[in-house]
């Protein structure tokens, strides 16, 4: 675990860059982290990040299919907003841990 200063604040991240304490997260941190990934966050992005945080706090397992059924975005748009591996990238920017697969 390492410390990192971002948007003027100290956060704790693991070796893959995921925040280890979701409580340290705020929107400014997300905006800066997104810049490092080449993404400019819009309201739609934030709606997804909030959704992921809310579900994670409830202890629910997240999947791309579930995000696609959330009513916020469909899967295609999720990929456009967070290119490559959208759930991993969005989880990183939402300050939550890397999604684990149930196998």
């Amino acid at each position: 675990m390492a410390e990192k200063t971002i948007a003027g604040q100290i956060i704790h991240i693991n070796d893959e860059g995921y925040m280890t304490n979701p409580a340290e997260w705020n929107k400014e941190i997300a905006i800066e982290m997104a810049k490092e990934e080449g993404i400019t966050l819009t309201e739609k992005h934030f709606a997804i990040l909030e959704y992921l945080r809310e579900k994670t706090l409830k202890g629910e397992t997240l999947t791309i299919r579930k995000v696609g059924a959330s009513g916020i975005v469909d899967i295609k748009e999720f990929y456009q907003l967070f290119p490559g591996a959208p759930l991993k990238l969005a989880s990183k920017l939402a300050g939550i841990s890397k999604p684990t697969s149930c196998v």
Binding site: T63, I75, Y79, C102, V103
Partner: protein, 412 residues
């Protein structure tokens, strides 16, 4: 008289039915088991059918053969469960009451959820091996296969027996070599995961296994649709993988009656307490095996281990004692690597597969995460163990919870 209803006479349902029957007083308890099929399938055997190693008779036996006569077997679909008045409604609208309910209805394939999957190429150039019929049809196709792009792909997680597609490509490599057309065939493994498997150490080992067989891995590929005209898999981020023969794991879902009963998640799997397998709001409902939404593999070994825990806890509950046993997510799988060799992985909710020996620490005789002939013999012997012991609920001296003894701690 108290009633126990078990929905599903697969591995978990048949096993728990036998255990309960032996343990409970027949004058006080009536056990009913419901399943739409009168055939019990040895599902781990499906994998071997396409290669002619097993035939249909190796994997099918009458369900009744494994159930004591005094267990009431109803061959029917279930319409729904009403957990508020403790009833199960059958397809013909007959209503059955229960004191305790065990849901072990497994997963089913849902190819309809992927556009273009159940289309004109289905069972022509696109196959699956998670049903006996599918595996037999694929076997016919492989017999006449002349080479080209053989693609193995997975639609989404979770799916039953998550190592089966890896085994499939390993066995296909061997089969095609023997047929003399391996050099004319490109084998491509397409997965929504970032590698061959989810857990890092096993994933690295299995990635290397596939690469050593010249099997190409296409990771992070989340299938949007299948283009039947151009014979291509298309991903949500616009990539494509062309195929001549596509073997696919369609989306896995729980049974429809779970959705109708309001007990399921978005894929009709039932959220439960992951240590007791009870539905939180309805603790007289237990969910065994693939039907449960728990963060471990959907595999026979899991329901075997979980079934032991659930059974012990159930016996405590009916004696008004506290439940003391907790399921740890224990799963293990033999992984067929082709050419008469296999490997084994053993893991749980918290510990990923590590090298070591199994089932007896330091002794084995099987070796975790290494590929050898003895592991393969173990895999073949398992069929015998399954029919003779496991589904009959007989005791096997293997720990239900995972052991870390003798396992090598590793860093990724």
């Amino acid at each position: 008289m108290k009633n126990i209803i078990i929905i599903g006479a697969g591995t978990g349902g048949t096993m728990i039915a036998n255990k309960l029957y032996k343990a409970l007083d027949k004058k006080e308890w009536q056990i009913t088991i419901i399943d739409p099929s009168e055939i019990h399938y040895y599902q781990p055997g499906f994998l071997f059918i396409p290669f002619g190693i097993y035939s249909k008779k190796d994997v099918e036996k009458p369900t009744k053969k494994f159930l004591p006569k005094k267990i009431n077997f109803i061959c029917s679909e279930v319409d729904s469960i009403n957990p508020l008045d403790n009833t199960v409604i059958l397809k013909n609208q007959n209503v059955l009451s229960y004191d305790y309910l065990f849901v072990s209805s497994g997963t089913r394939l849902s190819p309809e959820d992927t556009p273009g999957l159940k289309d004109k190429l289905w069972q022509v150039d696109i196959f699956e091996f998670y049903t006996a019929e599918g595996a037999i049809a694929l076997g016919q196709k492989l017999k006449n296969f002349k080479g080209g792009k053989l693609v193995m792909s997975i639609v989404d997680l979770p799916f039953k027996c998550p190592i089966a597609p890896i085994e499939f490509v390993c066995l296909a490599d061997e089969y095609l070599k023997k047929k003399g057309i391996r050099e004319k065939t490109e084998i491509i493994y397409v997965t929504p995961l970032s590698g061959a498997f989810t857990k890092p150490i096993a994933s690295k080992m299995l990635n290397n296994l596939l690469l050593s067989k010249n099997i190409k891995i296409v990771p992070d590929f989340y299938i949007e649709k299948i283009d039947n005209d151009n014979k291509k898999l298309i991903s949500y981020d616009g990539r494509d993988v062309p195929f001549d023969l596509l073997v696919i794991v369609p989306l896995n879902k729980g049974a429809d009656f779970i959705e109708k009963s309001g007990l399921g998640d978005e894929l009709n799997f039932v959220p439960v307490n992951m240590h007791t397998l009870q539905v939180e709001k309805h603790p007289n409902i237990f969910v065994l095996g693939d039907a449960a939404a728990i963060p471990t593999s959907k595999a026979g070994s899991v329901v075997h281990f979980a079934g032991e825990i659930v059974f012990k806890n159930f016996m405590s509950i009916i004696k008004n004692k506290n439940i003391i046993h907790s399921f740890d997510g224990h799963a293990n799988c033999f992984i067929e690597a082709g050419h008469g060799k296999a490997t084994i992985i053993d893991f749980n909710y918290n510990t990923e597969p590590l090298p070591g020996k199994y089932p007896v620490p330091l002794f084995g005789p099987f070796s975790l995460l290494s590929v050898n002939r003895l592991n393969h013999i173990g895999k073949l012997l398992f069929k015998w163990l399954y029919w003779k012991f496991i589904i009959k609920g007989r005791y096997i001296p293997i720990s239900s919870n995972m052991s870390t003894k003798g396992k090598k701690q590793m860093f990724n």
